[in-house]
């Protein structure tokens, strides 16, 4: 009985994770700008990958520790790589979509003046 409940929980988590992965991929395809794409592609994909990996951990309880460590690693590193990419693309001159006032320009020029 307990194993059946674990199996149902595992399949439910697998389908939630796959749904978020597909939503994130559609967001990567359809969003108009680099920064929108970065947001859609990182936050939803973190949730989707964590749910998928924990679903496998529910389905196969002997691998639970490894799956938990892997999802914890994805939770720690994925927002960090997104932040690094956004900062690098802003400093390398990629303009946001429909930008009216760019307040970052002044700070970037001040940093260049300091150097």
């Amino acid at each position: 009985m307990f194993l059946t409940v674990m199996t149902y929980m595992g399949y439910l988590l697998l389908f939630i994770g796959c749904f978020f992965l597909v939503v994130s991929a559609i967001g990567i395809l359809r969003m108009p700008d680099l920064y929108n794409r970065l947001q859609a592609g990182t936050k939803a994909s973190t949730l989707g990958a964590m749910c998928t990996i924990m679903g496998i951990g529910f389905l196969h309880p002997a691998w639970w520790v490894k799956c938990f460590l892997l999802s914890l690693f994805i939770l720690m590193t994925n927002p960090l790589s997104s932040s690094v990419l956004a900062r690098a693309s802003l400093r390398s001159g990629v303009k946001p979509y429909k930008l009216v006032v760019n307040e970052c320009e002044r700070y970037l020029n001040e940093e260049k003046g300091d150097n």
Binding site: L14, R37, I53, C67, L70, V84, A88, V94
Partner: protein, 84 residues
Amino acid sequence: MNIIDVVILLIGVSLFASFIRFLKGPTMSDRAMALDFMSVVVVSLMVVLSFVFDRSIYLDVAMVYALIGFVGTVIIGRYLEGGL
């Protein structure tokens, strides 16, 4: 059609959609972002395939691949910023 095949099909659809963005991204940061997303999707696909084939060693491969993908994304970011 088994229930795990639907899961693999959905993960493959998201991998294909991000690969289209990887091919036609206008700037270099788009391609780096699509590569990061593809590495995360491939890690979850490896975990699902380790359940299908019932091999525990693929989980270690997935963990090493997640580490390599993160380090690669950070190094590409540093290169775009101009500090490398």
